[in-house]
């Protein structure tokens, strides 16, 4: 991990493995650090996982006036990597960012994977308010099997800061106009969604896939919001086949 400055934001940049580069954009609860699912990806790929401005130890949120600034921030990171095109995987809030990036900079994204992504809103099927769910209800929505879910290890103050920063793009309604921009995505796209996701119902993933010109939807059984932890084999397999180099699965 190293700190790196991109414009007005100085963020933590995690790098794992080597090979064809892959940009991982994390979700609204915070950066996963050196999580096993990133390590598994890093067996065959160079994984670049920046922390978002305003999360953890990274600053620069004040410079992100809107979602366009945020998407351009990732464009700047890709440019700094010196690669022509890159695979982008975004989870949750990171999925919303990844889709925005792919829409406004289609030339930079080789393949796009959106895992349990925010960014849409359906009046007929409103999302639960993730910011006010009591912890047990939050866990029940986040995990398919909350009773066996790994215990939260994040520091409460950091968690407050992360979620607070996430409100910039997710509160009060996590719709910043992505629906209008999805048709601009050119990258082949895989939309992954945990079938038991209580934070974002799978119908949201299906709708996302239907609005992106070249996208496939794939449900992941036995998982809710964190399929890379709850269904690692299915997750790695889906990601590997789509991105073209399936990493060998070695368990959790």
């Amino acid at each position: 991990m190293q700190f790196q400055t991109f414009g007005a934001a100085t963020v933590r940049l995690f790098r794992f493995g080597q090979g064809r580069p892959l940009l991982w954009l994390h979700g609204f609860e915070g950066h996963p650090g050196d999580a096993p699912f990133l390590k598994r990806l890093a067996e065959t790929r160079l994984v670049i996982a920046p922390e978002h401005p305003g999360f953890g130890e990274s600053d620069g949120l004040a410079a992100m006036h809107d979602i366009t600034d945020q998407a351009l921030h990732f464009r700047r990171i890709i440019r700094a990597l010196g690669v022509r095109r890159i695979d982008v995987v975004g989870h949750c809030l990171g999925g919303m960012f990844a889709a925005e990036l792919a829409a406004i900079s289609p030339h930079l994204v080789r393949r796009l994977v959106l895992v349990n992504s925010y960014g849409l809103w359906d009046d007929a099927n409103p999302l639960p308010d993730a910011f006010s769910l009591p912890p047990p209800a939050f866990a029940a929505a986040k995990w398919a099997k909350p009773e066996t879910a790994p215990a939260a290890t994040d520091d409460p103050m950091t968690r407050q800061r992360n979620l607070g920063s996430a409100t910039k793009f997710l509160w009060p309604i996590p719709d910043r106009g992505l629906t209008r921009r999805l048709p601009y995505i050119e990258a082949p796209t895989l939309v992954l969604h945990g079938t038991q996701n209580g934070l974002i119902p799978p119908a949201y993933g299906q709708r996302l896939a239907s609005l992106i010109p070249n996208a496939a939807f794939q449900a992941i059984e036995g998982a809710a919001h964190m399929p890379m932890i709850e269904a690692p084999e299915a997750f790695d397999h889906a990601l590997g086949s789509f991105l073209g180099a399936e990493p060998e699965f070695r368990g959790r």
Partner: protein
């Protein structure tokens, strides 16, 4: 020492089992639980009481802004202020305050306060608030990540719109206006400005850097308030700021009667109703990002001191309306009894906390109007005159000049 009349305009007819059912009193409280005719009656009552307070010697009439709650049915304080500005003569119209981040464009605040200043003959105190999380974040949908930034931009725009004599353009992050040109302009060349807070260090800096009056507006009792107020004054000292007591406002529930026994008989139900029905879904009270990490840490420190004075069990009893009347009094949630006793206890508290602006809450919960009438009369006529000497040596720059003159005459 100045005294301002205030009441949370609590809806008075919530069902008896409201608290037992654990219904949140804010944000998503079922609308079926209220009758708009009762709200109308209640509003008329508060207007009558504040008109009386104006006659009975209070220095200000305080109105506040809350949304989607039976705890205080005052979505627009400026509306209530308009009714008062027109029908009172002497007291300041203390708007405490308008939630700056919730007005679009924020020049609405500048216009309405200026208009009220005209209507009242220069009696407006301009209060700027962030709003509780329930109001600003949940009811009005402002992302916590933007709340302070929006407040600050709105504040700059409002101040400039009052000060500038020529039309100007404003190119903000959230508000863009080609022509800002206020009609009317306020009577007061410079509004006294108050900003209430709940212990955020950033709010203290704002008050210190701009010579605002800071308000600690809470009902959680003296034990909870004292560490915060002490910390505020220490912070002022540390920053070399003016520690004039008149730059600090504080709310206090007061229950005054001719005898202590009568106070208990008259006010017990209202006080218990007030505390019992304030339960709010905890998630609505502390959304992530509403406070900075620095402030969360500071506030936790104050809370620890408070908790050493009042046990968790007692706090829970107080919050659920289960303390006895005199326990509420003992722990400073209320100050009750004869005018003599109330005067004495207020003197102790205001001296100890160094408070120059007391926001006296003289109606609580579902208190009958006639009790609040007597409370207002006793406090106005028998308590306040005996406390005028307190802090008299300090200049009060935080109330309108128009409200000072008659007061000086009264003192002669």
């Amino acid at each position: 020492m100045k005294f301002h009349w205030f009441a949370e305009a609590s809806y008075p007819k919530l069902p008896a089992d409201f608290r037992a059912r654990k219904i949140s009193s804010w944000v998503d409280t079922p609308k079926a639980l209220h009758d708009p005719h009762v709200v109308g009656e209640m509003c008329r009552m508060f207007i009558r009481l504040m008109q009386q307070a104006d006659r009975d010697g209070f220095d200000g009439l305080a109105v506040n802004e809350h949304h989607q709650t039976p705890f205080a049915v005052t979505p627009s304080p400026n509306l209530l202020a308009a009714a008062l500005a027109h029908t009172t003569q002497r007291a300041a119209i203390l708007i405490i305050g308008d939630s700056l981040a919730l007005y679009n464009p924020p020049t609405r605040v500048a216009e309405e306060m200026a208009w009220l200043d005209c209507l009242s003959g220069g009696r407006v105190i301009a209060g700027f608030v962030f709003g509780t999380p329930m109001d600003s974040v949940f009811a009005y949908g402002i992302p916590p990540a933007e709340l302070r930034d929006r407040f600050e931009e709105a504040r700059q725009l409002i101040l400039k719109s009052w000060a500038e004599q020529e039309p100007f353009a404003f190119n903000g992050k959230y508000t863009k206006l080609r022509y800002v040109n206020l009609w009317p302009k306020p009577i007061q060349p410079k509004f006294p400005i108050w900003v209430p807070g709940s212990g955020s260090v950033e709010t203290w800096d704002l008050c210190i850097e701009n010579d605002y009056c800071y308000g600690h507006l809470s009902f959680s009792g003296l034990h909870a308030a004292k560490p915060l107020v002490d910390a505020w004054w220490e912070y002022c000292d540390m920053r070399g700021a003016d520690t004039n007591p008149h730059r600090m406002a504080f709310t206090q529930l007061i229950c005054c009667a001719n005898t202590d026994a009568e106070a208990e008989r008259l006010y017990t139900d209202g006080v218990k109703y007030f505390y019992r029905n304030r339960y709010t879904n905890p998630a609505y009270e502390a959304p992530p990002g509403y406070r900075s990490s620095k402030s969360v840490q500071a506030i936790m420190g104050h809370r620890k001191i408070a908790e050493s004075k009042l046990s968790a069990e007692d706090r829970a009893r107080a919050a659920s309306g289960e303390m006895s009347f005199w326990e509420y009094d003992k722990h400073g949630f209320i100050i009750a009894g004869t005018p003599e006793r109330v005067r004495q206890r207020l003197r102790e508290m205001c001296t100890d906390l160094r408070i120059g602006q007391l926001i006296a809450c003289l109606h609580q919960g579902d208190l009958p109007e006639e009790v609040a009438v007597e409370n207002t009369r006793l406090v106005g006529q028998e308590v306040i005159p005996g406390l005028r000497d307190l802090w008299a040596e300090h200049e009060d720059r935080w109330t309108p000049a128009a409200t000072h003159l008659p007061l000086a005459k009264a003192a002669e």
